[in-house]
Symmetry: C2
DNA sequence: GAAACATATTAGTGCTCACTTGTATAAGCT
DNA sequence: AGCTTATACAAGTGAGCACTAATATGTTTC
């Protein structure tokens, strides 16, 4: 069922209003959606911003106080960000430090540019 | 292009495990979240991709068949994308043509680059 | 080993959201 | 005028999600 639009496109006489669009790469879609849905949430977005603003990696204990949800919620949010490839985490003693990945940096920068330079 | 980087009002004598992060610009956060949540959905993402792939603007009638949800759902999705500033729409006769905005183009391009860049 | 701290995991729950169905508006066609 | 097509809007509903609370795991210090 890869090829479509063969059935009645030419002979049926049904005039289409515009060019039918091509398919979407489903692998890319899955990857992008994981990133977008991970970022597209108040708590996780703010965590990402705070992690990105700090130069040296942020631990959960600080983030917890900042975003106003429970420790458990912060942990879950960070876990999700990690799974989506938006943060790295390193363990140091009993603390865990989170740092932004290139994906996070690039997307936040793009968003910043778009906000700053609207036409 | 230095960021605002509001200094937090932490009155600290307490020892923390790392540097406390600064605050997040809530205006920027609201704007970015509207964009991210609008893109972060299967149907809307695919609509955006299809709209972006077409050179000349796409009308709802074609999109409807492509994404596999009802006409009403497509209309609602496009409305949301429009509200979020991700597409423009122009009316031509009884059809409506949607085209990507700069925001959409920039974000999809960033996502493409990120996917292609790492191993 | 026990207690205190730091983070993760599990279970349960209210709320949001994306969909479907039905209806409304508006433009072409006969 | 009616009929058909193209899109939008409104109401209702099921599923997923983000939270809290409780518990578990791991680390440091006594």
């Amino acid at each position: 069922m890869a090829e479509d639009a063969i059935t009645d496109g030419t002979t049926g006489g049904a005039e289409t209003c515009c060019t039918p669009p091509g398919d979407v790469d489903s692998d890319a879609m899955a990857t992008d959606l994981q990133v977008l849905t991970a970022m597209g949430n108040d708590t996780r977005y703010e965590l990402l911003r705070r992690i990105s603003n700090a130069d040296d990696g942020v631990c959960v204990c600080d983030l917890e106080a900042a975003v106003g949800v429970s420790q458990s919620a912060v942990s879950q949010a960070l876990s999700r960000l990690y799974t989506a490839g938006l943060v790295t985490r390193r363990k140091e003693g009993s603390w865990r430090y989170y740092e932004p990945t290139e994906t996070t940096a690039a997307l936040l920068e793009t968003l910043d540019e778009l906000r700053g330079a609207h036409e």
